[in-house]
Amino acid sequence: MATSYSKVGEMTTNDGVPLKVSLQRSQRKLKIWAFLLVAPLLLFIIVSFIIPVVNMSLRGVENPQVHTIMPNVTKALARWEGVDLPDEATYAALVLDLQEGRKNKNIGKVASRLNYERSGMRRVISGSARKAVKLTEGPYKKQMIKIDKSWGDVAVWSLIKRESGQFTFSYLISAVDYRTNDQGNIEAKPENKQIYKALFGRTLIMSFTITAICILLAYPIAYLLATLPLAKSNLLMILVLLPFWTSLLVRTTTWIVLLQTQGVLNDVLVWMNIIDEAGRLQMIFNKTGTIVAMTHILLPFMILPLYSVMKTIPPTYMRAALSLGANPVVAFVRVYIPMTVSGIGAGSLLVFILSIGYYITPALVGGQSGLLISNMIAYHMQNSLNWGLAGALGFILLVIVMVFYSIFNKVIGIDKMKMG
């Protein structure tokens, strides 16, 4: 007998150890090996991907400036009710924090931070700090209001109280074109200042457009690749992959050469008398340019999954459909296309997610109207240095991708997905 039963009916091995324990023990070594094999990659992903993503997302809600640089004001405002101006003790705390902040040369951070929420605050904080150094004794309330009359405005104090917490939603609110008004209510920004919602919308619409164009262009090519004899399909495959191996920058600049107003395509059109000199088409540095260049770059990501699915579909299915009386079009639509849905899904997910976060191509050929949300994130990272807003925008983008991914998973099933 290889196994025996103990009193409670649990399976045990010959030496009386419970079977489950014994099984686990015998597989432990294998599991440790498996873990060690993936450990380098896991470490790499944690350090280079997960930590930065979490860090940037946190920057979208972190709010350390007022809290750490003006600790006394933060404490004093905690019990302020926000109806009238704060009491003398709060003004004393303000003077103390401003003097301390000026001495430590970090009051500017508070100035920038509050300026994001209310323009003019940079001047208020910096100017007051410069002048507050000279104050030696109270009462401070009157003197501060004299230095800058903003200190007599309840709204300014409300703002400081609101942003004195360790965390804030103001970046996220701002990233969807809303703001907190002086009364503390959340309201839409004035229309001329709304940019992000439109940019998110444009990013989504352009990603959908690029995905749709990719499906239309990739499907016939993938079909040809899967059905041609091997020698010819190999040649075609090289043609598909050749641009894939060319530098992204080279491909993008090539499109500029081709599509610009004095470019090859316009010259040809003029030469053929289809358009005249004055009517040269603007095909680059706008949406058209971005769509053309991105479709070109992302096309292989659609072709390869489609091809790998089509390769596994034997020709007998189409023949069966024909023999059952379906004409070639019906057979193709009702039998062939449904069998390639997993390939369409995989390719679309790849292309869509890649294009939703695409940066270089729109930056080079997008002009103003072809910019995407990632360009705005890059702007806040590199130019305006508002990393909090960049983090919030990036976090929203991440959420959008997750939502589309889960929709895809519900509709098609991620387990059915086949990549290249």
Binding site: S323, L324, G325, V330, A331, P338
Partner: protein
């Protein structure tokens, strides 16, 4: 009425070449009677599947004419031919349920919903799969998938059903079961069937007639019985059933029998003359293993030969006895294991005998 109205399918001098150099089908002529079960049997590469594909419309005939129901179909598209087909790997649509698979040919013919439901249910009942209507093909066993494929090829009541090695993927027991099932469906519905296989047992058990293919040519077209008992050449004799071959030279021809001197000095035997022309021809004598008698009583057989037992292989119902005769060491005799069977020993000298009709003198 057309003068050929008895024939549903006619191949007239059909030839097929893929590369313009070699002929895969050299000269194919067959007339299929309505309601017939015709099998095309042959080794792989013999051109049988090509003929089937030409009839289905997936290959075009290089020359010659294919006639279906009195009309040439050389230029008719496959989907307009109204021919049901069962494929080697069933080709059931994986994204449709069993019922949807069966409904497909009816939907593309624009039938009414209730009519479709009736026909699908009827077809499912026929193959005893009424409880599996909503399953996907992947959830069925090989045998069940096979039955769905057969039902799908029949559900739109085609004039003709083609089957391309449909039982190739099944295991032995299931294959035998399905052979009978297909045979019964054929008898019940009276539909004309053209069946392609390389399995001779399958061909013998199911067919009304069998066309034996080799090298792009029909070697013999006959009933299973005639094919087994009266093969017309050495290829057919070897391909159908087990066969002993003895080489020899014709020394005399007397009517439809001839006298043959065995090579290797085994003496002179009588054989039925099939396709030898003249005295002096070399010939292959074909003898079925079960038609050879061991130690026959004197005068029972016109032909007797000395043989030495080389090997005895026990097969339950019979013993395969390998003997050497006239220098041929691979001569097989099937000795039935009946009550009064004598037991032989290896190395024993025996006499074997056979009837002249069972020994056929074929081409060398």
């Amino acid at each position: 009425m057309d003068s050929n109205s008895d024939f549903l399918v006619q191949f007239k001098n059909v030839q097929k070449s893929y590369d313009g150099v070699h002929l895969v089908v050299k000269d194919f002529n067959v007339d299929m009677v309505r309601g017939e079960f015709l099998t095309m049997l042959g080794p792989s590469g013999s051109g049988k599947t090509t003929c089937l594909m030409m009839l289905a419309g997936f290959e075009t005939a290089t020359s010659g004419e294919i006639i279906l129901d009195g009309q040439s179909i050389n230029n008719v598209a496959p989907h307009k031919r109204d021919i049901g087909m069962v494929f080697q790997n069933y080709a059931l649509f994986p994204h449709m349920s069993v019922a949807e698979n069966l409904a497909f040919p009816l939907q593309v013919r624009k039938m009414g919903k209730s009519e479709i439901t009736d026909k699908v249910n009827h077809a499912l009942k026929m193959v005893r799969l009424d409880n599996f209507a909503n399953r996907r093909p992947a959830q069925l066993s090989g045998g069940q998938q096979q039955r769905v494929a057969v039902a799908r090829a029949l559900v739109f009541e085609p004039k003709l059903v083609l089957m391309d090695e449909p039982l190739g993927a099944l295991d032995k027991n299931l294959r035998e079961e399905m052979q009978y099932e297909i045979k019964h469906i054929h008898e019940d519905l009276g539909v004309t069937m053209l069946y392609v296989t390389h399995d001779q047992v399958e061909a013998l058990t199911m067919s009304d007639r069998i066309a034996v293919f080799d090298d792009g040519i029909v070697q013999q077209l006959a009933t299973p019985h005639a094919l087994y008992d009266q093969p017309c050449n050495a290829f057919v004799a070897n391909f159908i059933g087990e066969n002993n071959r003895l080489m020899g030279k014709v020394i005399a021809i007397e009517g439809d029998t001839c006298r043959v001197e065995l090579s290797g000095g085994g003496g002179i035997v009588q054989a039925k003359k099939i396709n030898v022309d003249k005295v002096g021809d070399t010939t292959t004598l074909s003898l079925r293993p079960e038609r050879v008698l061991v130690n026959p009583a004197a005068g029972v057989c016109p032909n007797n030969c000395e043989a030495t037992v080389e090997e005895l292989i026990y097969h339950g119902d019979h013993t395969r006895t390998r003997v050497s005769i006239s220098g041929h060491t691979d001569f097989i005799i099937k000795v039935p294991n009946t009550h009064n069977q004598q037991h032989m020993q290896r190395g024993e000298k025996i006499t074997i005998g056979w009837d002249t009709d069972d020994c056929r003198a074929l081409d060398a």
